[in-house]
Symmetry: C2
Subunit: 467 residues, 2 copies
């Protein structure tokens, strides 16, 4: 990219983009820009020349072409619920960028019942997608806490995960096809909903998880699944991570409709109970806890009870609910971890995956590593044990001191894990990318980036510090 432009570059670009999207949708005023320039954690962000809100795919293409012509980068932003700074401008002093917000791309076609699919604009919120699927008697299987704000475009760009990945996969598995604007302003469009389509490279899948660096997703064709109205949730006390994993192994094989298997530990439970003034979930304490959920067209609880009985899981280690309120009260012990941890201070949050067979080893090792590199800190672990995905939270070290982050990520890499399970690389983790990727992989990734965006127009500084 060229050197930072003078004010006349901004003025010229603003005029050009106003022609494209109209004056109401080019935000130059610093106060109007501000919400788009910082992520919601307030950890990442920087100045944008302006914010533009195109209302159609053709307008997105025109915006990208104009920016490419002006030597200005384009940061695509959906609901701005990311956690790694991938949807906000770089810190001051870097190459000039604009923010392209997809919030106006809110077209949502009627559900295609014949195919059990739906086409949604990038700016459609996850909550709206859920509602549309439910109204058609179907379901969209990815869910996460930011559902009211997170957009499907952002979720595709970041390959969002959530708690149902073990049954349904992450966003990647839901994407039948995507429409996207590339760095040269050309438009890819695979929205006709073809489940089987072996006609060359699957460019839609290449865009999934590319964090706005290869193209700007403007619409997606998503699969829907049968609604699973009958549900059972069990909270199970176990003596160790290894015991939890052994239980998951059996449940995976023997229980119908297993959708979630979430792990937390006694230290997290204590924190959550204190923070939320919750009663103990079980008559006695355990070292670790699993929350499992099964969904079905018919009541899946009998199948779950049978297996728990066969495994001799004691009654004192089992709380079960099938009604909505009861299920929510069991889930609360897991779901309230985030707020309970935040109440202690600003946590260092790491989101890692380990090979399932090494998850127990990691749990022990990460406690030692954190004790050594951040003595006196509070460590809280929880996560999606069915996917090998743990969230590592360390409260204590100041936010800018990343000693413990680096030590944990190095441990993850040594155990063949991923330094980012769900959150992505964004700007936050570029310096650690090589812990999870070999030189050959980085070379191939850079070659793909250079092939599709040779001038580095799209999300400069994200995934790769430098292209």
């Amino acid at each position: 990219m060229s050197s930072p432009p003078a004010a006349d570059v901004t003025a010229g670009l603003a005029a050009r983009l106003t022609d494209v999207v109209g004056p109401a949708h080019v935000l130059v005023d610093p106060e109007l820009r501000a919400p788009f320039e910082t992520d919601w954690t307030r950890r990442f962000g920087g100045p944008a020349l302006l914010v533009v809100r195109p209302g159609s795919t053709a307008e997105v293409a025109d915006v990208v072409r104009a920016c490419a012509g002006a030597g200005v980068g384009v940061v695509a932003q959906g609901g701005n619920t990311g956690l790694v700074g991938g949807g906000v401008p770089p810190s001051p002093g870097r190459s000039p960028v604009i923010v392209l917000s997809t919030v106006r791309l809110t077209g949502l076609e009627p559900v295609d019942n014949a195919a059990a699919q739906v086409t949604a604009g990038a700016g459609v919120s996850l909550a709206r997608l859920h509602a549309a699927a439910a109204a058609a008697g179907l379901a969209f299987p990815v869910d996460l806490a930011a559902r009211d704000t997170a957009t499907v475009g952002g979720m595709v760009a970041t390959n969002a995960g959530g708690v149902h990945v073990m049954r349904y996969g992450s966003m990647r598995a839901q994407v039948v096809g995507a429409e996207a604007v590339l760095a040269d302003g050309s438009v890819l469009s695979r929205l006709s909903g073809l489940v089987k389509d072996n006609t060359g490279y699957d460019l839609s899948q290449l865009l999934v998880g590319s964090e706005g660096t290869l193209g700007i997703v403007t619409a997606v064709r998503l699969r829907l699944v049968a609604a699973q109205p009958e549900r059972v949730v069990a909270l199970l006390g176990v003596d160790s991570t290894a015991a939890a994993l052994a239980l998951i192994d059996v449940l995976r094989r023997r229980v119908e409709g297993l959708e979630a298997a979430e792990l937390f530990f006694d230290e997290g439970l204590a924190l959550v109970r204190e923070h939320g003034r919750l009663a103990a979930p079980l008559p006695r304490a355990f070292r670790a806890y699993l929350v499992v959920e099964c969904g079905g067209l018919a009541d899946p609880s009998e199948s779950l009870f049978e297996v728990l009985a066969e495994l001799d899981v004691p009654e004192a280690a089992t709380a079960v609910a099938t009604d909505r309120a009861g299920r929510a009260s069991l889930w609360a012990y897991r779901e309230r971890h985030t707020e309970a941890i935040s109440a202690l201070g600003v946590p260092h949050k790491l989101d890692v995956t380990l090979p399932q067979a090494r998850l127990a080893e990691f749990e022990a090792a990460v406690r030692a590593v954190v004790a050594e590199t951040a003595p006196g800190s509070t460590l809280v672990l929880f996560g999606h044990a069915g996917d090998g995905n743990l969230h590592v939270n360390v409260v204590g070290p100041p936010p800018e001191d990343e000693t413990v982050d680096e030590a944990v990520l190095r441990l993850v890499a040594a155990l063949s894990g991923s330094i980012s399970a769900e959150h992505g690389i964004g700007r936050a983790k570029t310096r650690w990318l090589e812990l999870s990727r070999t030189a050959a992989e980085l070379t191939a990734m850079r070659a793909v980036k250079a092939a599709l965006d040779p001038a580095g127009v799209l999300n400069p500084g994200v995934i790769f510090e430098r292209v």
Copy 2:
């Protein structure tokens, strides 16, 4: 690529490759090469300078480097069960190539029970993979008729489908990660089995369906699923394609464990019955037939019966079996289509997907198009109606006359379908690729190819006639 090499290029390359893999695994003798030079349909193929059978990923890398250095292309071949000439050399007179057979890459690690995954060498047969999964009490959910010969490497390279896609997805959905050799001899390796791994571009997924043009898959990490021992198969008579699709729509929402929904028609049934001397499956004739299968941990037949009763599907339109022999006898009406058609002559086979909502329209239109462009021919349609995927078989026109093929593919394109659902582009369909792909997509695909294989070493002439 350079012009065809003289005999000394072959001799030099053979010597170099003998150093890499040993003399037993460099086949220069025309008789030894022959089985690798023609596909099993005998429609595609051509001369290879030699055939090499490396025994490890490192040897594959050395072979690729040697060929790249000599200006010779590399055609990767698995079980040679492809249908579009993607795994055999081009016809005589094109750029010189060797065949790299993956048949010796037969390493199969023990099933990872904790993760419900397995790592398999590219040369492992599908049947062996099924057996290994079953021995661990799990299942590999992709199945197809060539299971004894088809290799997992080839199935990943071609994103193989089959009859269970509606429940489990195609090969793409099973690939947790891949190991592959790129055109420069570098090795990508994502075999640690991380279900969630958002650390940049998913190069493993990019390789799926790339037909050996971006890298040579040497090993794959695959997910396994819970075995579904209890099964029910129903053969249902319906009055039209539209009625069949309406039935699938309800079954998809209401029946547990729906794995397959296969469609065929009266003309195909008549052929199959005559060829196989089979009794009529139902007490009266129908225009179209669906074979549906459900699998579960518990018997899924009750759930199916309930829905069929609610839909008032008459008894005369329903044949059901839960025992293995009975299920096989119902499946036979669908599965024997291929052999019954082949007995009539060499068919023109097209494998297409339509948007589900336009499948009925296509069924009517394709009959008209075939009647017009190949008068007097026999048309037999069948396929995976749950995925919008139909196999169009036309017997009559000579094999080299592709008038009917082109007319059918143009119809598919006009209805926003895919000209290749499962089989790929290979060499057979390169000239029609632009019917399914826009100019922007072709440009992006070529850019990716050029980025990862600038000299065009890997499978020249496949997918793209020319790079």
